[in-house]
């Protein structure tokens, strides 16, 4: 009998620890499929970060390093500069990439560091129980914004893709979403393009994936997908923000 669907080789045969309805599992699979399709598993080093995706070093079959909170782009820089012919990617959440690791992110980007960043934006700190993230929407209730995020005291959400696209060193920046079949297909294309950008030696590539956190949002998985569509996409429009020829 012909096999029509199977686990990508680059995705480890273990049970993921993610909550039901969380889109990390989808994005992991997309990254693993891309690694398989490009045939780069044996040639790739992944960098896990601190947050819900910390255990991604258990979920990808390639060599992995686990970085301190926010430092994944610096660690990736160290790996890439030591092993110039290897493919290096980071997998980071929004607290990691856009708060504590902002400096590492911006400077890896502006150096044109030839790495690929997979950036999960779910507007919250998932692992610690749903606190305000730099990406939390105005008015959004979280554990540390119980009255909703107020711009007077907590400022505004940060649009990382738009910001990084202004830097000369970035080669490919796209924002996608993991809320529907159509968007997930587009997300995979973007992830593949990001890795291809690195393989071509063009410089820094990042795919921001709008993701859900049903547990901390207090919504069902289906409601979460709808919430993402209704609330996140207006603040974080999908599309390609940078593509160097």
């Amino acid at each position: 009998m012909k096999k029509v669907f199977e686990r990508p080789h680059a995705l480890s045969d273990v049970t993921l620890h993610y909550c039901p309805g969380c889109t990390h599992g989808i994005v992991h699979r997309l990254v693993a499929e891309v690694i398989d399709e490009l045939g780069i598993e044996g040639n790739t080093v992944g960098i896990a970060s601190v947050g819900c995706s910390v255990f991604s070093y258990n979920y990808f079959e390639c060599d992995m390093q686990e970085a301190a909170h926010g430092r994944a782009p610096a660690v990736a820089t160290g790996v890439k500069r030591a092993l110039r012919d290897k493919i290096v990617f980071t997998y980071q959440g929004d607290g990691d990439l856009a708060a504590i690791g902002t400096a590492e992110t911006v400077h890896a980007a502006t150096r044109g560091e030839n790495i690929t960043v997979i950036f999960i934006n779910n507007t919250t700190y998932g692992m610690t129980g749903g606190q305000m993230a730099p990406t939390t929407l105005v008015g959004q209730v979280t554990q540390t914004t119980p009255y909703g995020r107020k711009t007077e005291t907590q400022g505004y959400p940060i649009n990382m893709s738009e910001m990084l696209a202004t830097l000369e060193g970035t080669a490919y920046i796209e924002r996608v979403a993991a809320d529907s079949v159509q968007h997930i297909r587009a997300a995979k294309k973007a992830i593949k393009k990001a890795f291809e950008t690195q393989i071509a030696g063009k410089g820094f590539s990042m795919v921001e994936v709008l993701s859900t956190c049903p547990t901390n949002w207090g919504l069902s998985p289906a409601e979460s997908m709808q919430w993402l569509r209704d609330n996140m996409i207006p603040q974080y429009p999908l599309g390609v923000f940078k593509e160097k020829e």
Binding site: A48, F60, C62, D63, R71, A74, T77, G78, V79, R81
Partner: protein, 355 residues
């Protein structure tokens, strides 16, 4: 190459690192170690190596983590406030069993402090600095030649035991010029880095560089395994210089350039008829406990001299273990003690002890 050259400490250190096979340097400018970066930025491209100026000390040490995890011989250097920033990364590097070299050209503290030489980072270097149970091997050269010799040694010790190693100098050692030779460092039989994340090439199971263990039993077991390597380092890697300790009434204990000043003070004291010896720890961790305990059998007292308010003196007291009095003399904030000041202290102590 074995001819004599005149070199500044910071530059000699950088050259020695390159000769020891280091091809990756990640740094951030800070006085008084900036010459290390400047030298590296010029020399590394000539040997197909990499100098990268990071956006911060925090980023630099995490780049070191990545490169060390990929199996490279790698280093960073900084001075006190910058070393404080690196502590997070140093803890992760120690916890992930990665070898690397961290250089601290110490300046006066705390806070922004000053830019003159000091030894006030001793506690930070030998007692942890970052969080968790771990050690750095800490080497404290007293001359530019020794700085050169210990640089190759530092990389080898790191690779041998899979630990981060620190060379602790001070602003004076970094800035002064002395004639040196780059000898052939003695080769150690180093283990292969089979744990490095170099890509599986689909030939082996994946390697993971990591310090997260949520099962307490697993974490304890790994920490205990590392402690065995620390015990082996304490057994095999102590370096210490002893001078005229056998017949000494008073034993000076000092490291780094302070030990050179103490040596002059000891010579003056001997001329004056005082029986003075010197113990110079070259490794601050592992600390030469046995040598100090041994000296406590014959000496009447100890005088520890430091460019701090008294940090190493605590380890001297632990080693002496109450057998004899351990005194302290120090200057800090960037002030270097003079031989005369030390002689005066010894006269006070021996005057009392002899009469």
């Amino acid at each position: 190459m074995s001819e004599k050259v005149l070199m500044k400490g910071n530059e000699a250190l950088a050259e020695a690192a390159i000769r020891a096979g280091c091809r990756l340097f990640f740094g951030y400018p800070i006085t008084p170690q900036t010459e290390v970066s400047a030298y590296m930025s010029k020399r590394m491209p000539q040997v197909d190596g990499l100098f990268l100026q990071a956006e911060s000390e925090v980023a630099a040490i995490n780049m070191v983590y990545g490169a060390a995890g990929a199996g490279a011989r790698v280093m960073t250097s900084s001075s006190s406030p910058g070393i404080s920033l690196k502590q997070e990364g140093i803890s992760y590097i120690a916890a992930s069993d990665l070898p690397c070299l961290v250089v601290n050209i110490v300046r006066g503290g705390p806070g922004l402090g000053g830019i003159q030489p000091a030894q006030s980072d001793y506690f930070q270097a030998v007692k942890g600095g970052g969080h968790g149970d771990y050690h750095l091997v800490v080497l404290a050269p007293a001359s530019v030649q020794e700085l050169v010799d210990l640089t190759a040694e530092a990389f080898d010790i790191g690779d041998m035991y899979r630990v981060p190693v620190m060379i602790m100098g001070d602003g004076m050692l970094g800035q002064m010029m002395e004639p040196i030779t780059f000898g052939e460092p003695k080769k150690r039989n180093l283990p292969e880095k089979t744990w490095a994340t170099t890509g599986t090439a689909m030939q082996r199971k994946k390697n993971v560089v990591n310090s997260l263990y949520l099962t307490p039993e697993e974490l304890e077991e790994l920490n205990n395994e590392r402690a065995k390597r620390y015990a082996a380092i304490e057994e095999n890697e102590v370096k210490v210089e002893l001078q005229q300790v056998e017949d000494a009434d008073l034993v000076l204990v000092a490291y780094g350039v302070t030990a050179r000043i103490a040596k002059t003070a000891a010579a003056i004291a001997r001329e004056k008829g005082m029986k003075v010896g010197l113990i110079r720890p070259i490794t601050l961790w592992p600390f030469p406990k046995k040598e100090i305990a041994n000296a406590a059998k014959s000496a009447k007292c100890f005088l520890t001299v430091e460019m701090s308010q008294g940090q190493m003196v605590e380890d001297v007291r632990l080693a002496v273990n109450g057998a004899k009095p351990v005194h302290f003399y120090g200057r800090n904030g960037g002030i270097v003690p003079t031989p005369d000041e030390i002689v005066k202290e010894m006269e006070k102590l021996l005057g009392g002890a002899n009469e």
